[in-house]
Amino acid sequence: MLGRRTSYLLILPAAVIYFGLFVSAALYFFVVSFWRVKSFRAVPDFTLQNYIKTFTTHLGSAETTLLIAFAIALSATLLGFYYAWLIRFRAGSWAPALLFIAMVTLFGGYLMKIYAWKTMLGGDGAINSALTALGLIDQPIRALFYSPIAVVITLTHFLLPFAILPITAALRGITDAEIESARDLGARGFEVMKDIIVPRARAGIMAGFALCFLISVGDYLTPMLVGGTMAMVGQLIAPQFGTYFNWPLGSAMSFSILSASLIILGIVYAALSRVGRP
């Protein structure tokens, strides 16, 4: 057994990197969020103007962002849970292959996936062409592309492995004996799922949901390329640090959306914690 002191020493390099590269930078931007801008330069100050501007001007975009990110995280988590459940309980000797396939899609590249969906969802894309060829529609369904639906589909596809992996890891911790015991005690399929599998995989489900949700909230490329006229908040934050040289407003917007995201994750965690409780 390692002594407590040795454990701390082993953690130290990671802690230094974490605090040096993440926490200190986050603290810096938090301080900057109270500054103001004069002639394209951030000037130290203590003003709430950036937060007021965020809540008065960008509230609509923030709501849209959170709603879409929630939809993406929910669909990715549900699909990811089903896929992970197949791997753990149904695939048998095919389980490693299914897991490998899920991981391989991570190597596909983010932009490539966006452009792939562009060719699928567009007016002359594969889906509309197929539906037209089958005589199911006369005109292409324009809502499929350059729309929030396109963003949800594209990001769900991209983020699916981020949900599958932690949930698979969590499901692996559930032994067959636990399932059999529940069944021996009279639990049916749904009850086994609700009372045994979901509570035991809660950490993995929550990790998958949180990853998908937070990545979606911060994404600005996908809505830019397939979202049409909609704006997610990342699209408005990114240029503040480049084109507009308004780091204080960009920081205030970032911390506002981060806070809102953490609140939503807290609510989801609380709701998930209730599943399986007597």
């Binding site: 801008v37 007016g123 390329l225 979202g227 049409g228 006229t229 704006a231 408005l236 240029p239 084109t243």
Partner: protein
């Protein structure tokens, strides 16, 4: 060039053994010197260049950099405001390539130096339309050397319509088939031409700017299919039939999709904004002579033709005459009079507002509101 001189010396006819020995001795000395002290004797000067990607490429033509002894350290811009920030911080930069609207502000702030025309003998070759633009040429003094230009035309699908006015964007039959771009200058200036009523579209009152913003929001919400991150994405959408015309655009868009679909551009009757990009020499440029030499080289025919490889326009008469292939028709070289009549080189909005004229940060904030709407 040292190597050329050496070659010429050794090729002279030799008249005697003594002369041969003298020549051989000199040759050996030169060879030794060039092998032992090459870096000291022919050291290049590092020249710091801050500009748009592609505007440095013509400097590679005709062996210019080698012959001028320049080692180019190029840094590419993400936006024009970087130029202001870096020059204000006295960064040791030899050349910047701002949009012409920024030049008056840089001049007034004392951040750039005037052009010594005796060191840019190619400058008179530039068409007066560009050379004597009021942003760049003040009281007989040149403040920059123009290198390329362009406009913000409407791009459209000629198989669907032939627009003549920006207000064709509002026609109900094209609802949901309009392209806009995430380009604050291009979108807002064009909208300002349409609805602000200002004499100079870039110099508007806060109330007029509000009207421009409202109009952009209306177009975006009621008529626009997508707000594209780049002009190329918009052209691609036109090829796929998603959009049929654009608010703003570029003359080179039809050329880049020519193999897939015929699309066209026009300068609507209300007019368009236009730009000139130029080589500007900062006040604190460490090597002003080399800066002038680079600006001069950019106006040579090979350098100008090199610009067309990236779809940029040329602006000297002799370069226009040397164009061939698609580059020759990409811009309205044959009808510059129409361009001059319809397209305008607007100055930038002021950096800070005096309450009467909206400042550039106000324009950016208004565009943010359009994006968020």
């Amino acid at each position: 060039m040292p190597s050329a001189t050496f070659f010429r010396t050794s090729s002279l006819p030799l008249r005697s053994r003594r002369e041969f020995l003298r020549t051989a001795g000199a040759t050996a000395t030169i060879a030794l010197a060039s092998s032992v002290l090459p870096r000291r004797a022919f050291a290049k000067t590092q020249v710091n260049w801050l500009g748009w990607q592609g505007y440095d490429q013509p400097l590679q033509t005709e062996g210019f950099l080698d012959s001028a002894g320049i080692e180019l350290a190029a840094t590419y811009l993400a936006n024009n405001d970087e130029i202001v920030t870096k020059l204000a911080a006295n960064a040791p930069i030899d050349i910047v390539t701002p949009y012409m609207g920024y030049v008056p502000g840089l001049r007034e702030a004392g951040l750039i130096q005037s052009i010594d025309t005796s060191k840019v003998p190619n400058l008179p070759k530039v068409l007066p339309l560009f050379r004597e633009d009021s942003n760049l040429f003040v009281d007989g003094v040149h403040w920059s050397v123009p290198i390329t230009w362009g406009g913000g035309p409407m791009v459209y699908d000629p198989s669907v319509l032939t627009p003549t006015s920006w207000f064709d964007l509002e026609k109900p039959e094209y609802k949901g088939k309009i392209a806009m771009f995430d380009d604050a200058v291009g979108m807002m200036l064009t909208a300002s031409i349409m609805v602000s009523g200002a004499e100079v579209a870039s110099l508007v009152t806060p109330a007029q700017l509000e009207e421009v913003k409202k109009y952009c929001i209306k177009l975006k919400k009621e008529h626009c299919r997508a707000l594209f991150p780049s002009y190329g994405e918009g052209a691609d959408a036109m090829v796929r039939g998603e959009v049929v015309m654009t608010l703003g655009g570029a003359e080179w868009l039809p050329a880049i999709v020519a193999e897939k679909k015929l699309i066209a551009y026009t300068y609507p009757k209300e007019g368009c904004f236009a730009f000139i990009d130029s080589y500007v020499i900062p006040k604190s440029a460490p090597h002003p002579d080399l800066s002038h030499a680079m600006a001069n080289h950019m106006l040579t025919v090979p350098a100008q033709l090199e610009l067309t490889k990236n779809n940029y326009a040329v602006l000297t008469q002799e370069a226009m005459e040397a164009l061939s292939g698609p580059a020759a028709t990409m811009y309205p070289y044959k009808d510059m009079a129409s361009f001059q009549k319809l397209c305008h080189f607007f100055p930038m909005a002021p950096a800070e507002s005096d309450g009467k004229v909206a400042a550039w940060p106000d324009w950016l904030a208004a565009w943010q509101d359009v994006l968020a709407a």
